[in-house]
Symmetry: C2
Subunit: 319 residues, 2 copies
């Protein structure tokens, strides 16, 4: 490994912000360098506790994350935040604007914040967010918070990267609760009804609780908490809830299982990434382009094209 | 090809509902049979016009889809609907409940409705939805409507499968519009503000228009329409808007480009799918399981494991 990479790793292990930022960029660009870096850092991960915070747009997730971070900082815990926005795949970094108010935190060496948006086509955002969480973990952060906007598949994937997942809703989310109950029920270790001073908060809490009672008994029974994150209300309770869930996971040997499942998924991702890079080289991409020239020829199906390309690939491997 | 498969294809080409349902199930299960079927049907696709309808939960998308379908039926056009719910990955079919009111449509041979939810891990929901759209296209439907819940990555993928994409919002979506503008701006060919008799509809329309003016000039300028889908108001205007976009795409040769891009993506998906099936055979999965027994050994990184497995795989291919 080059000296340059060694100094990057050295900086990262000391929690240096520039080294961290650079490393996360490597991971975002998904090059061979990223795999080399993550491989080298692997022995250093596994100490951070990972918290997933998700929910619909406008639920006040960032405010809640900010307040939770401040609480951890008062307890001398370090925090890494990955704010993931799967809804802005083209322009990137939509969340950065929201984050300007956090400038007081960015001066604090115990906090690292990074926004990530979908870019490129190779691999998924959730994979990159998970890799970034690994980097923050290796850099010695006590807590890594994965914050995601929305209610789609990406958030479910990201929930898999978290040890404890919190779904944030607001009193106005009533309709949404109904519409998205199946997915939410499965990923939430806690629900937080934020802006709980607004009208309708009791109704939403009742709705969530009713849905929780409907489902089959699980090993972990999610609780519903209230917060007014903008005033800091309920943040202490949220941190206690996270701790109680953490203890539960450790006692039941579930934390180990979660991490094993994450590792398995990572192996799958790496295999897929390496294969795609090997397969879609310049020559193959060109061959596909040429075939697509005649794509209106109804005898040329994408399935036949794929088969042809794979036969070529196997021949190359055999050479 | 077996007689059984031939009769399935025969039935599907005649628009037989049972053959369609069976075929979509094949596609959902992602077996080799699905690829064979799609390959055989490939010469028959390309005639249906594909409409994507997306937006947050509770925006009234299904009602709008129902009304649009009824309008098309009055014009003797046939319709296939794929209602995709990426938020219910575990239980499946959350939308089916909503669809009970459509029982009058399910008696109509000119309409086919199917709900799809994320299930399993291989491949994505958007790929399956695109394949199902191909089947409906081959079955001779004049319009295929892809309806998706939420605002995440899945919806963006599904928008790629559509010729015209409509984003449905409600007056209450104000906050959401702000939060998710980047993604929405890129995929929407039209915005429909549904439930437009409610308070705040003018404000939401103004917000969308302001955002549309902020962005760079595009070839196609999205319009904002109003509807009260539950009363059928605005549905005629939506169908006209779709027709005007369709004419635009045809005139500018953009429809052909869209379909070429879709075909390219399909080749990528097929290659990935075939590789993963070949790679993750019983022996490889077992080898991974064994390696993960010692996953707490910090020297065993997922990157090294992946490398080992790939070396084995190449050796097998060479044999």
């Amino acid at each position: 490994m080059s000296t340059k990479k060694n100094s990057l790793i050295g900086g990262l292990l000391q929690g240096d912000k520039r080294a961290l930022a650079k490393s996360i960029s490597l991971v975002e660009n998904e090059g061979a360098a990223a795999i080399e870096l993550l491989d080298a850092l692997h022995p250093k991960i596994g100490n951070a506790y990972r918290i997933g915070i998700t929910g619909p747009p406008g639920a006040g997730k960032s405010t809640l994350v900010d307040q939770l971070t401040k609480l951890y900082r008062r307890r001398n815990q370090t925090v890494g935040i990955i704010a993931v926005d799967p809804t802005s795949p083209f322009t990137g970094g939509a969340l950065l604007g929201d984050r300007i108010r956090m400038v007081d935190m960015t001066l604090d060496d115990g906090v690292f914040i990074r926004s990530m948006a979908t870019r490129g086509s190779l691999g998924g955002l959730s994979k990159k967010a998970g890799d970034a969480a690994d980097l923050l973990d290796a850099a010695g952060k006590n807590f890594v918070i994965l914050e995601t906007v929305g209610v789609g598949q990406s958030e479910l994937d990201i929930a898999e990267s978290a040890d404890t997942t919190i779904v944030v809703l607001v009193p106005e989310s009533g309709d949404s609760v109904q519409a998205m109950k199946a997915g939410l029920m499965e990923i939430a270790d806690f629900f937080v009804v934020n802006k709980a001073d607004r009208e309708g908060s009791n109704r939403v809490i009742a709705e969530i609780q009713a849905m929780l009672q409907l489902r089959e008994r699980q090993v972990w029974q999610p609780k519903v908490l209230r917060a007014i994150a903008s005033r800091g209300d309920g943040i202490g309770e949220i941190s206690e809830a996270i701790e109680s869930h953490r203890r539960f996971l450790v006692e039941k040997n579930l934390l180990i299982q979660k991490r094993r499942a994450r590792m398995l998924k990572k192996v799958h991702n790496v295999v897929r990434f390496r294969f795609e890079r090997a397969f879609w080289d310049e020559a193959t991409r060109q061959a596909l382009d040429e075939k697509l020239e005649n794509y209106q020829d109804s005898n040329l199906s994408p399935y036949k094209i794929a088969e042809d390309l794979m036969v070529n690939f196997k021949r190359k491997l055999g050479e």
